[in-house]
């Protein structure tokens, strides 16, 4: 019975371990798209030696906002990453839970590439063609029909006569969100929007007859699948293209190849800004937040040729950079009412 007594003792010691000690480590949640960039900055920040390395969870943009807006206090995260701007409903949630002062930082731009194996010939698509290949319902001769296309050449005779095979990200991913708003909704014809009841969101419904294949969150796996099947296409963040240039290449969209410059000035059509949001009430309570903001927005990380651009983040134009840097140093908050 002695052993049980000892176990109980150890147990009670663990529970009495001082929870009261304040958290001394920044906690970050949010988008899996921003995760690779935030982790690099966090690592550099930790190596600086003054503060502990922040802990970063990849929860997705929506999940991160929910955690972030849950309240003020050391049990709630300090920063949330987002691959889109904060929504009105999320602002309301924040406001309701007392998270009133939020700092918005634009991190940079991210491009989504539509890619295939390097073994396949070069190809170019328009957004409408991509929408026609992926949508559940398309508009033909003024009528809304279930997507009849099986080969690319059915959509446009100039495209190759290969079966349509597209590996898509699951609905929970930020990349899919961005794809929906930047390709599916933009490529949707006016007539189709009208026939769908005027709701652009309906254009983003993806066909379920086997031509669009849901491939899971794992982008590395998508790269492997594209490599083994030259007819298949997939879409993912620009950084994956940089890391796997020996296996995959990007299709041109509206005749434009994805490039750093093209994503920065949005001349490459599938590009979007990335964000993170900071709880102002935590600055000064949790050590290091303002220094972390300075590190993240410094020229050597976010700027042209900074270490984030090495892994695929597309830097902001200098005007936007200046306003972001000001927000980070002056801690200016956005209005959430």
């Amino acid at each position: 019975m002695k052993i049980f007594k000892n176990l109980l003792l150890v147990l009670s010691m663990i529970f009495l371990a001082n929870f009261a000690q304040a958290r001394d480590q920044i906690k970050i949640v949010g988008s899996s798209t921003v995760y690779p960039y935030a982790t690099v900055v966090a690592e550099k920040f930790g190596k600086g030696g003054k503060f502990k390395t922040p802990v970063i969870e990849s929860t997705g943009t929506g999940g991160g906002m929910k955690l972030f807006c849950a309240g003020v206090g050391e049990n709630h995260p300090d920063i949330t990453n987002a691959s889109r701007a904060i929504k009105t409903a999320e602002k309301e949630l924040c406001n309701k839970n007392g998270v009133k002062d939020i700092i918005e930082i634009v991190v940079g731009n991210d491009g989504i590439v539509f890619a295939q194996s390097v073994k396949a010939p070069d190809i170019s698509f328009t957004k409408e063609q991509l929408w026609r290949a992926l949508a559940e319902k398309v508009e033909i001769d003024g009528k809304l029909v279930n997507n009849p296309y099986t080969k690319w050449s059915d959509i446009d005779s100039k495209l190759p006569a290969n079966k349509i095979e597209i590996l898509i990200a699951p609905p929970t991913s930020g990349t899919r969100d961005a794809w929906n708003s930047l390709v599916m909704e933009m490529g949707c014809t006016k007539k189709a929007i009208e026939l769908l009841g005027g709701d652009k969101g309906e254009c983003a419904k993806i066909r379920e007859d086997g031509y669009a294949i849901e491939a899971g969150e794992n982008d590395t796996l998508i790269v492997q699948k594209l490599d083994s099947n030259p007819n298949a296409f997939g879409f993912f963040g620009f950084s994956y293209l940089l890391g796997n240039k020996d296996k995959i290449k990007a299709a041109s969209i509206d005749g434009v190849q994805p490039s750093l410059a093209g994503i920065q000035d949005y001349s490459y059509p599938i590009a979007r800004p990335l964000f993170f949001y900071v709880k102002k009430a935590h600055i000064g309570v949790i050590p290091g937040i303002s220094d972390f903001l300075k590190e993240f927005t410094s020229k050597k990380s976010m700027g042209d040729g900074g270490y984030l651009s090495d892994i695929g983040l597309v830097p902001l134009s200098s005007e936007k950079y200046n306003s972001t840097r000001t927000a980070a140093t002056k801690l200016t908050t956005i209005s959430i009412n």
Binding site: I14, A17, F19, P36, V40, E57, S58, T220
Partner: protein, 420 residues
């Protein structure tokens, strides 16, 4: 159908059944063999790293160290200039473009490595020494042959000039493979050459220990009470059914429980092994109680009756005779339960253990990751070097699971008594 035909038919049916069995076993073994082979062939590379031999002269002037520097002075000095100067000596002619390219052949921590070397050997000041510095992930993959070099330059991470420098260094035998200590001592990193399982290994260790401390005594006491002391009635039947049901509840549900009660209501710190251990203990409890009760049930009633007959109390008969005899089954059940807890990821996602953790946790209330979560995180990373890291982590995890299962089988075989 004649009698002979019927016999033949029955024999054929038997032969067919044997064949089906054999085929399914061979199929299953092929799958396992294929899985193990791919994991090991990919993962074994992660245990070695590529290093570049650099001649470093620890010039006290460049480090701006005072004469007779203390260990603290050595720690505080800035090694970046010294490190740059040392690696630039690898080039025969000085050329700023080449120097930039050369720097990218090394891991971003190359100045830190030089510093750590001097901190360990402080008497090397103002002397020169050959040090093997860790190379960058791109060079590592190139040297291991995982990245093709006969493809156009714009599809490679390493450009033509860097390849030239690389080949020259290989010819001078300066590039070597060494044991990858970082893989075991470092936490997570975005640079594959610096990433390690230190933080996740300790996170898993703390979680499993807390899980053991909580679930083992409770499970044993519960099963002893239910099996030996509790009256058999509707209430205990109901409890028994519920224990069996709980053992089959998907583990993500326990994650939700942990999120709602431990994090939400009790305000325990997120992403910590403490919360993971408690959540896993809840999940493991029914999975331990069931084998514990089975092994108590397997002790023949004559043992209890014998003890009672010589005047032992109920308590004495149970704790002096029945429990020791059931211990092998109890322990192996516990170990298998813990092995399941070790490999669990789903509940950990909800309590924030699937996170980027660089600092090695010192206690169960520091943020940490866990081994299966690390596999998940690395499998999603874009850099090529993480492919082998992912497989190597799976190898470590598999090793732990196999060892734990082996101990369980050994305990059962060695100490279990057969009652014939």
């Amino acid at each position: 159908m004649t009698k002979d035909q019927r016999i033949k038919k029955r024999h054929r049916a038997e032969a067919r059944f044997k064949l089906y069995g054999l085929v399914s076993i061979i199929l299953a073994l092929t799958f396992v063999g294929f899985l193990v082979f791919t994991i090991f062939s990919k993962g074994s590379d992660a245990f070695s790293k590529t290093t570049i031999k650099v001649n470093v002269s620890f010039n006290a002037e460049i480090l701006s160290l005072p004469s007779n520097p203390s260990l603290e002075d050595i720690q505080d000095a800035d090694y970046y200039d010294l490190a740059l100067e040392s690696i630039n000596k690898l080039l025969l002619t000085s050329n700023p473009d080449d120097e930039k390219l050369l720097k990218k052949l090394f891991s971003p921590d190359f100045d830190l490595e030089i510093k750590n070397y001097l901190v360990k050997n402080p008497d090397l000041i103002n002397q020169t020494q050959d040090i093997n510095l860790t190379s960058s992930d791109d060079i590592d993959q190139l040297f291991k042959g995982n990245f093709p070099r006969d493809i156009p330059e714009d599809r490679r991470q390493v450009n033509d000039r860097q390849l030239e420098i690389f080949d020259e260094l290989v010819a001078q035998d300066k590039i070597q493979k060494k044991f990858n200590n970082y893989f075991f001592t470092n936490g997570d990193s975005r640079d594959p050459e610096l990433a390690g399982i230190g933080a996740s290994l300790l996170g898993s260790f703390f979680s499993v220990v807390i899980c053991l401390i909580l679930s083992f005594p409770i499970a044993i006491l519960a099963s002893i009470y239910l099996e030996e002391f509790a009256p058999k009635n509707k209430i205990t039947d109901f409890i028994e059914i519920n224990i069996n049901n709980l053992a089959a509840v998907p583990s993500i549900v326990y994650g939700l429980l942990g999120l709602g009660i431990l994090l939400g209501f009790m305000n325990f710190p997120r992403s910590t092994p403490l919360v993971a251990g408690i959540t896993l203990a809840l999940m493991t409890l029914p999975r331990i109680i069931i084998p514990c009760r089975a092994s108590l049930k397997a002790v023949p009633p004559s043992i209890r009756e014998g003890a009672l007959a010589v005047g032992a109390s109920k308590f004495q008969s149970v704790f002096h005779h029945v429990v020791p005899l059931s211990l092998p089954g109890t322990l192996s059940g516990t170990i298998i339960g813990l092995a399941q807890a070790l490999g669990e990821t789903a509940p950990l996602i909800l309590i924030g253990m699937v996170a980027f953790v660089v600092d090695i946790p010192g206690s169960p209330i520091d943020p940490a990751s866990s081994l299966p979560a690390q596999v998940y995180l690395w499998s999603e990373s874009a850099e090529r070097g993480f492919v082998e890291k992912t497989s190597a982590t799976i190898m470590i995890l598999l090793t732990f699971l196999i060892v734990m299962n082996f101990i369980a089988v050994y305990l059962r075989q060695k100490f279990e008594k057969k009652w014939n």
